[in-house]
Subunit: 212 residues, 2 copies
Amino acid sequence: MTMPQYKLYYFNLRGWAEPARQLFKLAHVEFDDVRMENGTPEWEAFKPTTPFGQVPFLSIDDFKIPQSAAICRYLARKFGYAGKTAEEEAWADAIVDQFKDFVSPLRQFLMAQRAGDATEIERVQKEVFDPARRVFFKIINGILEKSTSGYLVGDGLTWADLVVADNLTTLEKLGVFNLSAEENQKLVAFREKVGAVPEIKEHNATRPEAVI
Amino acid sequence: MTMPQYKLYYFNLRGWAEPARQLFKLAHVEFDDVRMENGTPEWEAFKPTTPFGQVPFLSIDDFKIPQSAAICRYLARKFGYAGKTAEEEAWADAIVDQFKDFVSPLRQFLMAQRAGDATEIERVQKEVFDPARRVFFKIINGILEKSTSGYLVGDGLTWADLVVADNLTTLEKLGVFNLSAEENQKLVAFREKVGAVPEIKEHNATRPEAVI
């Protein structure tokens, strides 16, 4: 059996494609990291050829999978990072779903920042983003408190760890994850643990710089 | 091996628990359909005992799974409604993820309706909800156009069908899914097909009435 040819299409960002890139590195599987620029004529021409009119999507030879979480779950199961039992897989899924619930307020905050109105940025941060972050961090902290491995699910690394850890970097770069705050120390230690996995460490050190 | 005891905790709504209930019916597996009332002292007291401070969650003997999509995927894989290959599973996942992207604008619309300000309802519908519905319907219609089975994934019923079909009923009840519109006929036929599966037909005919 020849190895399938993987191509991962996304913008020149970490965002929702980064955990998929990290999964390829963890598994030592070659892939084509196709990076496009949003808003360019090239992207507009390419867009209708994507499965759902958006990126990321993954092509495996001629088969295409849209939606970031679906891509990551597919790779995680193929490469052994989805959890060791059906129950562990369900927990990894649940954590990523919880993260997806957090992404919507995060996106609102990013849009406000991009629009640049200081009053509106403050309003969205206070009314929408901060409460959502509190809920999300409380859940992740609660899981880490009970974890004996330091990982979010079971005793090994799963794609849920990759999703949550890389997003902490995004939040840090956006100025909304305070590394020195006492209440964030479990999250800081968790991100360090994930970032110390040799393949992740090398990947993160050599990847293109991006805020999100 | 004794059958595990399943308990599904949710509010007295269809919402995100309904596809899980339908999966139990499809598989002819008994479960305890625990329905609580949001905002009651009982719910407030119960809330901190849930895995993520929210419902739905599923308990399987002593093991708990939070987050609706994680619950449905777990049951779908156990009962044979997740897709027949890793690739079909990824497509079912992608469709549900796309649905989750649509739920956030839908929730904004519901919140505006609940608040009751007519101008704001109209604004949210026009600026947020209608564009999101157009994107979502376009994707689902595109999938149905290519489908030879009439289902969203492969040649059989998956949990993605249940999620999308039941949501069409919610949209109909909310007055934002026009059954007579020419452009909606593929979606109408799709919902009929899913609703004609004997177990689903019986379940839907006998379930408690709820708008969402």
